[in-house]
Assembly symmetry: C2
Homo-oligomer: 374 residues x 2
Amino acid sequence: MPVTIRDVARASGVHISTVSRTFSAPHLVNPETRVRVLACAEDLGYRPNRAARALITGRTHNIGLIIADIANPFFPPLIKAAEGQARHRDYHIFVADTNEDPMAEEELVHALAKQVDGVLLCSPRMSNSLIEQLSREVPLVVINRQVTGLPCVVMDVGQGARSAIEHLVGLGHTAIGLLSGPRGSWTSREIRRAAGAAARAGGAELTVLGPNPPTEHGGLALAEHVQRSGVTAVLAYNDLMAIGLIEGLDALGVRVPQDVSVVGIDDIALSRLTRPKLTTVATPTAAAGRTAVDMLLQQDTDAPRGPRGVGRGTAVGARRTTAQVMLQTELVIRDSTGPASGAGSPGAARVGPDPHRPADPGRPRAATGGAVAS
Amino acid sequence: MPVTIRDVARASGVHISTVSRTFSAPHLVNPETRVRVLACAEDLGYRPNRAARALITGRTHNIGLIIADIANPFFPPLIKAAEGQARHRDYHIFVADTNEDPMAEEELVHALAKQVDGVLLCSPRMSNSLIEQLSREVPLVVINRQVTGLPCVVMDVGQGARSAIEHLVGLGHTAIGLLSGPRGSWTSREIRRAAGAAARAGGAELTVLGPNPPTEHGGLALAEHVQRSGVTAVLAYNDLMAIGLIEGLDALGVRVPQDVSVVGIDDIALSRLTRPKLTTVATPTAAAGRTAVDMLLQQDTDAPRGPRGVGRGTAVGARRTTAQVMLQTELVIRDSTGPASGAGSPGAARVGPDPHRPADPGRPRAATGGAVAS
DNA sequence: ATGAAAGCGCTAACAC
DNA sequence: GTGTTAGCGCTTTCAT
């Protein structure tokens, strides 16, 4: 039923190898022949079978993308960007969801390995050593984690957390809570480290609560804990948790930001829609997706021309250069943070019809990270 | 580098076909041999090359999933469910995003056709006839659209819209606006049709505004229009638009639900987090994803044993039975709808610390659709 | 510039 | 129960 290279060959009166060349090395075929073949292919509706091609070239033109949780709004923009970039380069993306399960991650890498030219490992929860091991099976690009020796793209959440803490300290907060993320998260460790240092530098005390599931519920469940802990400000692992926490505090009658300030991380679309609008550290997720695809593809196209043209030179020291890209983050100050304690006038705040603040006056930026490559 | 079936054969001292059988028809091989082969395969790290297998079996064990916009929070749960169900059945999912572009849809079907055993076409914007045509190239299951002759899974948005309108009419609204969705959306047409009928039946007037992009911005942009139109209630094509509209109205000083009631459709996670919490028609998106995968796979496994065992019987009338599944929807009443006009006491509503309603008292359900097959 | 032939990794008759 | 053989659709030497 499906039309193959042979049908096209027959129709255009050439050998199949000529048809093949027409598609994979057009310059090697006579322009006239090429046109004729192309025409036949066109109206037979011929499409090269990529699987068959892959069998011999070793290139599937597929990329695997392993995600902790597609339903977490942090990821879709990243997926979308990766998919777009990949398609733009004539690649397709396999998406797999691990449900935050480290076991699933490993299994999925194995399952995908043969079908793809490389895998984008997003926010992995497994160990570094396992990642390294897997990278010997299939080219890997790690997102949201630094693994030495492997290409990575991370957001500078350290800088982001620092800015957030400085922002809170600047508002007079001296007892700050940190809702950490899931166990195994590089990002969570980074945040904790940076936040701890920044708090110390600012003379504030940091109370770490966690680890927690990186979900709205994870935040919500901590509301009472936060209330009892006596902190006046909280930095959450991500926006979802921050939003959940605000919900939870609200239910306890604790007002944000009057009683407690809350800062999130990610700047998902949602954070502009909740009330109060969330102060958060914006992470460039789309850029991360695009960059990761580019890095993988570059690595991919570099590979084949490795030991070629090299006479009997030194033992091919040209190990692939594995870049580590760090993307900038930016603190976006909205309405969920305010001066510490007594400053607000309880009861008067947020009354009915028009509690409209200057409404997001052009995204005041506060800090940035830097770009680094190694 | 990669270990093939031949390596395993050599290691276990059998012919490659035995190894092959061990994986694709274990019952045909001597238990002892099987164990030995499996052991060798195990510690050589052998994984069957699915592409090579597909070349001969015609089954790739891949499914294509074409989505209008991954970043639209309506879709991730569907993707996640589909992916999970697929993996559970040992299939992988290719995800592609069309950016709401009908052209991209067609191209993507073509691009995926050879790589997958079937395609899930989600919320297609292209024409029915084109869909039918494409279905001759690759098995299709259509989601969120009814196409006669093709397997479909749709949500009963008609029933949902009806319930929504009845709810509004019951609250005394007689001038109701409908924010329609994107051109080419089956769902949008269904909603419009059902909402129109329900409004007529309830003695209310329905003003249709659209088509519109199915995004937050699409709703936000309509705020002024809604305000001027004089309607006291609005049903939006989806939650995103409803939320955008509320934002927009809020900016104009129009209060929801005191001045205008707003109902969304979908019940995305977000709609529980905005203020006011959104009254909306819940659609079972995860179920839709799972069901679609099941339908595709069933069709897929049915296909091969078609003209087999049939003596010289009648001309194989056994055309595949294409089911059309309709999933129930449910009106979830929250805080964005209220009595028409004068009923609310402006200014007193929603004051500071504790404007807590009975907080979602167990999801009052109001209506359901039915399940149908053809 | 084009044809011939080998073979990618695997499965599927068909023998034995 | 297992080995033999042919070939899926395609690319890629190697001749011509």
